[in-house]
Symmetry: D2
């Protein structure tokens, strides 16, 4: 059983009538709604205005894969929660960053990236090409996904080179974008998927739902890296050594500061 948490800032759905018409219960509930029927997934949601944004220590510890959607309020996400999520990713939790999460605190922190790009909101056609057929995240798709109305996200995209490139998008207006990218950090797997602008019904598109479902399964933890330093004392060395030289550490390994 994969324990999934769908996080959404949940702002535009409450304040913009066009968005509300498409996602009356919020983007998080639409996404949770198409994930829940899968018997291997246990799905909950969390949103910005819940205490600790709904991402308490307990929730983070009990989450295998976290999905993140945010756009208007990246700066209102608490740094302490971002650090907590970041640490969980390094320990092994999967992260699926959606659409404008490219500039969210958690996405840019976990990659050390700027996340910058060029963009245009004109409802143009996007064609998401599969660049790696047979990658588990592309399972069940054809050559490409057509999205009739989409926001353009274009290159240059401020990211480290993807470790696996699953999708690249074509836009009617003439641009391209690396919109489906995999990385690993510590033991955590990270997938970024660009489609999902809130003024179009993109998360109702069956193939987009297929990608996100595939990504959740791909990103599930495959192990755990206990986070933390460890001082190995001379007498604990695998080979016999005799300690030599001066020290800046106390006998318990603590460092003498300034």
């Amino acid at each position: 059983m994969i324990r999934v948490t769908v996080w959404n800032e949940f702002i535009h759905e409450r304040h913009n009538a066009d968005v509300a018409a498409i996602y009356p219960d919020g983007i998080h509930n639409t996404i949770a709604g198409f994930l829940r029927p899968h018997p291997d997934l246990e799905v909950r949601t969390a949103t910005l205005e819940e205490p600790e944004h709904g991402l308490t220590e307990a929730v983070c510890r009990d989450t295998d894969v976290l999905l993140w959607w945010g756009h208007a309020a990246h700066d209102r996400v608490d740094d302490a929660v971002v650090a907590r999520v970041h640490r969980r990713v390094l320990e092994g939790m999967g992260l699926v960053a959606l659409h404008s999460a490219h500039i969210s605190k958690i996405f840019t922190r976990v990659l050390g990236a700027s996340g910058v790009l060029i963009w245009r909101e004109a409802g143009e056609r996007e064609r998401v090409w599969v660049t790696n057929p047979g990658h588990p995240i592309a399972a069940g798709l054809g050559d490409c996904i057509e999205i009739e109305h989409s926001e353009m996200y274009g290159e240059p995209f401020g990211i480290p080179p993807p470790e696996e490139q699953v999708f690249i998008s074509w836009y009617e207006g003439g641009e391209v974008f690396r919109g489906g990218n995999c990385w690993r950090r510590g033991n955590g797997k990270i997938f970024y998927f660009s489609p999902g602008h809130e003024t179009y019904p993109i998360y109702h598109h069956p193939q987009v739902q297929q990608v996100i479902t595939n990504a959740v399964r791909w990103a599930q933890p495959q192990g755990h890296w206990a986070y933390g330093f460890r001082n190995v004392l001379p007498e604990q060395a695998h080979e016999k050594i005799v300690a030599a030289g001066p020290s800046v550490h106390g006998p318990d390994g603590t460092l003498a500061g300034g």
Copy 2:
């Protein structure tokens, strides 16, 4: 001319007699001292206790390669200065992170890494193996560098997979460590080099000096990526398109928040 800034927290050299005996003017001045004779390098230093840690906007803008040494006071480095340096790296400035900088704010931020490792301060022998002969950072070296007394840094090391692996260290006590690693982020090149514990005269070692000099030249900027978003209006698209659909942005591209 490569403009180099050597940054050092400069604490143990002032508070620990053993360290002071090895680096009476501080590690930064020892490093600057062996870099300065090279006519292609223009070298200055900066330290923690200077205003803005000596890393003002002007200094960052005028720096091509920044070297970073810190150990006891990582948490005293101001987040705003870290963000400024991070941004400069993404724009193209080189970063050479030395020894305990593996856990500095700037190194962990720019890579999104934990930087954790295992360690032992016992003055044991370290042998730094060249894993990529002919890499410019290994120029002028033989098969390996012997360091008679060193602090052990051991695996697992919490870093993203190095894009180029230049050195891996062997320790007398039985451990190994990826101690010479290259990454690129945005347009900036990053090199981490592990030797350099302050209680041993490691930065006086001619081959260590060779590595650092090589690294400065390798890390110099080769271009500039202007940092920032850009909104491309429908009428600016390369292909003729007709805008469609609702919007969450105002006519000037600003986003309506919550």
Copy 3:
């Protein structure tokens, strides 16, 4: 069910008494023997002197993960079989290359690498460090594996940068080696694991068996990339275009040669 084929050149076990004493039925049967009890694995073997080295089209098509051990007769492996195996890897078959397979035709072809290294056969101690705890291939291990008698394989190792580094070895004689490395090529996963010199009982070591079992599961196909070109005719384009300009291809897409 993962369909596993263990390939071995099977020479030294028949011609060298020391090796025969350790592996009386051949290395392939020792490896197959510890894999077979796992109910998710269906295991067969193949060796050099069988017709087509036991790797016919049918066997390759019905293999999910191929293990490869060779040392004395790399040059006797037929190029056509190598090309067949290479193609299957690109389509999605996993490849686990063991010990001296670092210089086998299939390993060097699939990576485009030289596979060169330094080596010493002196029965010295090797310690295989886990550099990525929680990676599925390291599951069930502690910090490191101790191998009392081993052949030294040392850096520099002529490989592309590993996409995931799972193990690095320490040797008593003073060397280090990247001995546990992951790559992806096409849809296939590749794992190289260095321990396994035939004059020591290394494949009888429980933790080495654990690594190989883990690697088989990690390397299983997760999809299929149909290998081949495809000509998309102008009238098949997703966007309407009007063909223009001269051509070097006939109407059926075939190229006019010299």
Copy 4:
């Protein structure tokens, strides 16, 4: 001084009137012609029908960067010459693979890739986007290069993940392609650049010429990795060891075969 060799199969220019009209002296001479005026470049050419395809041991040894254009006769390139060039790349020679070289022996061998893609020869518009501004290969360009008539090369492209992504192409007919990719193998740098179909005057385009000139400078060797094995005898080990156990090697390190 960078010593450049431009290799061309030189077939279509002699047998197809349309191609001959664009490149009367062959593609190699057009490319050599725009490289030669640069005072840091020393340029020669080589073609398929010369002895050893013009790539003798002496020529390979004296070449810093090799450019490769081929289309109709990949299978007529001698395997021994391919192995020679491959080895030189691993030692440090740069390789710039152009257009249909994606399926040449040397490109697929050096990467272990299939090089497959989808394609359409319809003279449609291509827009080559810069995905990494400030990368040295993108120096002097704007946001993108427009090529009015081009052959479509589309995804999926059978390559390992690029280590640096410099360009991605957009096509009028609706496809995308990773057309400007960097890798490193051994000490050699490899750049693939897709524009260059012979029925359009693409190598006369000033920005395409800029990219190729930049790529030559980027790919120049920065060191040399002597290719070959090395046996380190027990008495040559850095740490004192006592040899133990049986051997399959003779005293001179040669292996007893079957």
